[in-house]
């Protein structure tokens, strides 16, 4: 039986967390669902069609498929990581999904993302942004892994929030992209603006969450 919190404060917290997590879960699963058809290895997808020259290179081809495979697992396992119920009652699920997350990010997702970032769509600034994302994703995950091995749970949480927000840029980028598309923006402007907003916005969101949780915010970068 689900016993709802009686106090208004708890009820509000539950409501806002639901308001935040329900769209996150929905869009994450939608992204995973939309990724599955790519494993037909067909070249009929618009994403692949506009990168015909790139997909002719075997290394890029491999990097792309490894990257989306890693992204699927990364996003789906990360959803389990922030559940306090799983953390308290089913800790093994948290540990194993965390191991999968770290593996797919460090071994598959970030290296392939780094390679692909050199050929990203847009200007040099967008390419640099993708490189920054790959490096940030990698470093924050490594720091989170190191923190949990040092039994520094608070630091582990902070670094993993940063890592997860980097992973979630794939989701938020698409949300902004759809919004600007509905506003009838030019394709390239839409792409560039939604990319920058998603990366910068996610970083700011992560830092805001960490800032609220920690008493000494700047120490979180050194711990």
């Amino acid at each position: 039986m689900l016993i709802l919190p009686i106090s208004l404060k708890k009820a509000m917290r539950f409501f806002f967390s639901a308001l935040f997590w329900l769209p996150v879960i929905f869009f994450s699963l939608l992204l995973v669902y939309n990724t599955i058809p790519y494993f037909s290895f067909s070249s009929e997808f618009s994403f692949i069609e506009e990168r015909v020259l790139l997909f002719a290179k075997p290394l890029y081809w491999w990097c792309f498929y490894v990257h989306i495979f890693a992204g699927m697992w990364c996003i789906s396992t990360a959803l389990l990581q922030f559940s306090s119920w799983i953390l308290k009652k089913r800790k093994k699920i948290h540990i194993w999904s965390g191991k999968i997350y770290v593996f797919v990010v460090l071994i598959l997702g970030a290296p392939t993302g780094m390679y692909m970032s050199f050929f990203a769509k847009g200007s040099m600034a967008e390419r640099m942004l993708f490189m920054f994302m790959a490096m940030t994703w990698f470093i924050t995950t490594v720091r989170g892994l190191q923190a949990v091995h040092q039994r520094n749970i608070i630091s582990h949480k902070n670094w993993m929030i940063r890592s997860y927000t980097m992973a979630m840029t794939a989701v938020t980028f698409r949300i902004y992209h759809i919004i600007f598309y509905l506003l009838e923006w030019d394709h390239m402007n839409n792409y560039e603006v939604s990319l920058w907003i998603s990366v910068v916005g996610n970083i700011l969101a992560a830092e805001y969450i960490i800032w609220r949780r920690s008493k000494q915010y700047f120490k979180t970068f050194t711990q």
């Binding site: 290394l59 993302g113 780094m114 390679y115």
Partner: protein, 177 residues
């Protein structure tokens, strides 16, 4: 944990090194600028191409489709012609259905209308060749006799090309039982 982190660091370094190498390679070849331009170039013509090509594609397909259609029509017409050849029923002449040498010596009295009614109507078209070979036997015209003619084996059995129709077969089965 350390080997794992070193491995991942090695991989991301390899990714960046390969990325830089391929990037400059592409830049030297001059393909770097065209990586996404082709998409922009093709998008515009695709729209026009769709409108232009759409009528063209069916034309080709029609041509392709037409051939079997014509073939089918031919087949159909051939089939229809065959049927038309078979369908008109020629009047059955008694001469054509005589048994030639085996005919009874006694003059027969055949009531034409009755025979025509009793005789089963069968496709005759293909028996023309056989009929040509058969000798024409002129039956002697005899005066009507009151006696009944001997029973002849049914024409259907003699000229049937296969199994007799089920109408004939049924009574045979009953008799066997």
């Amino acid at each position: 944990m350390k080997p794992f982190i070193y491995l991942s660091a090695l991989l991301i370094t390899a990714g960046s090194v390969f990325g830089v190498a391929d990037y400059f390679k592409e830049k030297k070849n001059g393909t770097m600028a065209r990586l996404y331009q082709e998409e922009e170039e093709t998008v515009a013509p695709e729209k026009t191409a769709n409108t232009k090509m759409l009528p063209a594609i069916p034309v080709v397909s029609k041509e392709i489709v037409k051939e079997p259609v014509v073939a089918n029509d031919v087949k159909k017409t051939v089939a229809v012609e065959k049927k038309k050849k078979k369908t008109p029923r020629k009047p059955i002449s008694i001469k054509m259905f005589t048994r030639g040498d085996e005919r009874p010596e006694r003059p027969m009295i055949i009531k034409l209308p009755e025979v025509e009614k009793k005789a089963p109507v069968e496709p005759v078209a293909e028996t023309v060749a056989e009929v040509k070979e058969t000798k024409e036997v002129v039956t002697p015209v005899a005066e009507p006799v009151a006696e009944k003619a001997p029973e002849r084996p049914s024409l259907r059995k003699l000229y049937s090309r296969g199994k007799p129709p089920s109408r004939v077969k049924k009574p045979v089965v009953k008799s066997d039982e």
